[in-house]
């Protein structure tokens, strides 16, 4: 066994390694080294912990084996287009772990007390408040992340046909939540833990929470009447139950009720948020998972948890802020507002009167004369898995002496940096990925801009119509390029639900097709023309 001081010093070293991890994330050249450094920090923190006191191994080993296997398989198999779901899910696990650690610490502290005399001494004020914070934030993160995951994997709002495995996840998760709540409620009702009173009432509260969460997750629409009432009620209930738990920590049934109510809040907060706002939500949940870990650090008096948790919390907050700015919306507006067509949105038929459809051959001719081409990818490219085809087209054009750049909008895709990862997967050099502000400054010098599966982020209405729901949102000014080619399956609106006058401009050609097929057709046409 190593002395406590040595363990704490090793924790400091681990924290420094985490800081280097994030520092080296600042450049693609050093980022791989950074990530490896972070993993070393984690290994060091775990080793220091295991060596610091005599431990009972079976429970730990089972947990590590199960978690390690699942984590490794998931990381090796996930597709790059599915990264948002994956990160969403991992956030949730972090939050869930924080809730359980806080709950477990509370149970241990309360059980360690003997008799009424010790009540209140076993758990100090710091621990009580931190336990409440950890339970609350952790549970919001866990259930919020599940909903985000479900939305990203498209199995919450049942708009599209579900795969069997999606149904299995959806129904079994709901069932597990309800069953867990009912089981714990019934067990606690029969055989009260701790010295708390009114356990019966609390059992019922817990079961009700479980039923609400389970029910909400099975719903077929994202919104329902009275949603805001439930949202505010659950927020108030969180604070009330949290306060009760601080006063009365020995009744740890209250902790599970707190987790349940916070779960309802997490589900509702995330449920009402639309697809275009997903990058904000993912970043926010990322921040929460860090803050939950920091709160857990306060529960068990552990500095390395506090440092790492706050690093992650800060990271998530910054990304959230960047995403909000990129949409010209406040965080409050994303969380509590709604986005949709306003009363004076022009009718789609009116806007789209002058739309010109085109063919792969015509596009090949346009590209043949082009010196500079900008490609603007959106979520549609991810859905169509078109990133490799897009890379091939770029290479083909470059071989013919055309310069090709990629213009990346900060909120294109479903999470911060989503497009960059997909293009990196397709072997596109990261120097070719230009940020919105840089490419906008030169957009009038591009001969052709090709929009692949993007809509709202290239809608000029954001600049021209102050009453539009996306007014003031920074966009990529593709309309300033000489010719604009838009590859899209139909004229259906993006997430903002408004028509896009770009499609009807004189210099715009619409190519109606699936993203990957369209690019492949263009490649074939360009080769034929050459």
């Amino acid at each position: 066994m190593i002395p406590e001081q040595l363990r704490d010093i090793l924790y400091v070293v681990a924290a420094v390694l985490f800081i280097y991890d994030l520092k080296w994330m600042a450049h693609p050249r050093t980022a791989v080294r950074g990530n490896a450094t972070g993993a070393m920090g984690m290994a060091l923190a775990v080793a220091a912990t295991l060596l610091s006191e005599p431990l009972d191994w079976p429970y730990m080993l089972v947990g590590v084996a199960v978690g390690g296997l699942i984590g490794a398989v998931a990381a090796a198999r996930v597709q790059m287009t599915a990264m948002p779901e994956m990160v969403g899910l991992f956030n949730g696990f972090g939050g869930g772990a924080s809730v359980l650690v806080a709950g477990s610490a509370l149970v241990a502290a309360v059980t360690a007390m003997t008799g009424a005399a010790a009540a209140g001494n076993g758990a100090g004020m710091q621990m009580k408040v931190a336990t409440v914070a950890s339970g609350l934030i952790g549970s919001v993160t866990f259930f919020g992340s599940y909903v985000a995951f479900g939305k990203l994997a498209e199995f919450l709002a049942v708009k599209w046909k579900l795969h069997t495995w999606q149904k299995v996840i959806k129904y079994s998760f709901s069932l597990a939540v309800v069953a867990g709540g009912v089981w714990y409620g019934v067990v606690a009702g029969i055989m009260p833990h701790g010295v708390g009173s009114n356990t019966g009432l609390l059992s019922i509260a817990l079961i009700v929470c479980a039923l609400i969460i389970g029910g909400l997750l099975l719903r077929k629409s994202d919104r329902f009447p009275g949603m805001n009432v439930v949202k505010w009620l659950s927020a108030v209930a969180c604070l009330a139950v949290g306060g009760a738990l601080v006063i009365n920590p020995e009744n740890f049934m209250l902790f599970w009720v707190l987790a349940g109510v916070a779960g309802v809040l997490g589900v509702i907060l995330t449920l009402s948020i639309g697809g275009a706002d997903m990058p904000v939500v993912i970043a926010l949940l990322n921040s929460y998972s860090g803050l939950a870990a920091a709160a857990t650090g306060f529960v068990i008096n552990n500095t390395v948890l506090i440092i790492s948790g706050s690093l992650v919390g800060a990271s998530g907050i910054i990304l959230t802020n960047i995403m909000c700015k990129a949409m010209n919306r406040s965080l409050a507006n994303v969380l509590f507002g709604t986005m949709g067509p306003t009363g004076d949105t022009p009718a789609a038929d009116e806007v789209y009167k002058t739309v010109k459809a085109t063919s792969a051959e015509e596009i090949a001719m346009v590209l043949d004369g082009a010196q500079r081409v900008a490609i603007v990818p959106g979520y549609g490219m991810a859905v169509a898995q078109a990133q490799h085809a897009v890379r091939s087209l770029a290479q083909l054009l470059e071989a013919a002496g055309t310069s090709v750049d990629f213009a990346i909008h900060p909120v294109a895709g479903r999470m911060p940096g989503h497009m960059n990862v997909l293009l990196a997967e397709a072997d596109v050099d990261y120097d070719k990925l230009l940020e919105m502000d840089d490419i906008n400054a030169e957009m009038d010098q591009y001969d052709v801009a090709i929009v692949v599966g993007a809509n709202d982020v290239v809608n000029p209405v954001a600049r021209t119509d102050p009453n539009s729901p996306i007014a003031g949102m920074p966009i990529i000014d593709v309309d300033k390029a000489n010719t604009v080619i838009v590859i899209k399956r139909s004229l259906s609106p993006g997430f903002a639900g408004i028509p896009n006058p770009l499609f009807a401009l004189d210099n715009t050609l619409m190519f109606f097709s699936d993203g990957r097929k369209a690019i492949n057709d263009i490649i074939a046409a360009v080769k034929e023309a050459a």
């Binding site: 924290a15 991890d21 994030l22 520092k23 994330m25 600042a26 693609p28 980022a31 990530n35 490896a36 972070g38 993993a39 984690m42 923190a45 775990v46 431990l55 429970y59 730990m60 947990g63 199960v66 978690g67 390690g68 699942i70 490794a72 990381a75 994956m86 991992f90 696990f93 972090g94 772990a97 924080s98 359980l100 650690v101 477990s104 610490a105 149970v107 059980t111 360690a112 990322n286 857990t296 650090g297 306060f298 529960v299 068990i300 008096n301 500095t303 948790g309 706050s310 690093l311 992650v312 800060a314 990271s315 990304l319 990346i408 999470m415 940096g417 990862v421 990196a424 072997d427 990261y430």
Partner: protein, 93 residues
């Protein structure tokens, strides 16, 4: 026992360090940053291990902690591995 004020000091200073570091990360690396920082938030694993391995805690406490160990390990192992996979794709030609 570390004092609450000392812990709060650490908390606040670490948040500032976090802000300084993350502001320098370019948008290109935002996705790996998220999955990587997510792996770091799996540090809850340390707390979970201590509680799951505690010699004198009740079974309920240890069972909860064992589940927490599993969740946090998924986060740590999966997070660092998938981040590595992504970063390996960002290479200059």
């Amino acid at each position: 026992m570390v004092s609450l004020v000392a812990l709060l000091t650490i908390f606040v200073l670490a948040i500032f360090v976090g802000f300084e570091l993350i502001t320098k990360v370019p948008p290109t690396l935002h996705t790996p940053l998220m999955s990587g920082s997510n792996a770091i938030s799996g540090i809850t694993l340390v707390g979970a291990l201590l509680l799951a391995g505690s010699l004198d805690s009740p079974v309920l406490s240890k069972t909860l902690a064992a589940v927490a160990v599993a969740l946090a390990t998924i986060n740590v192992v999966g997070g660092f591995l998938v981040t590595h996979r992504m970063l390996a794709m960002f290479k200059k030609k």
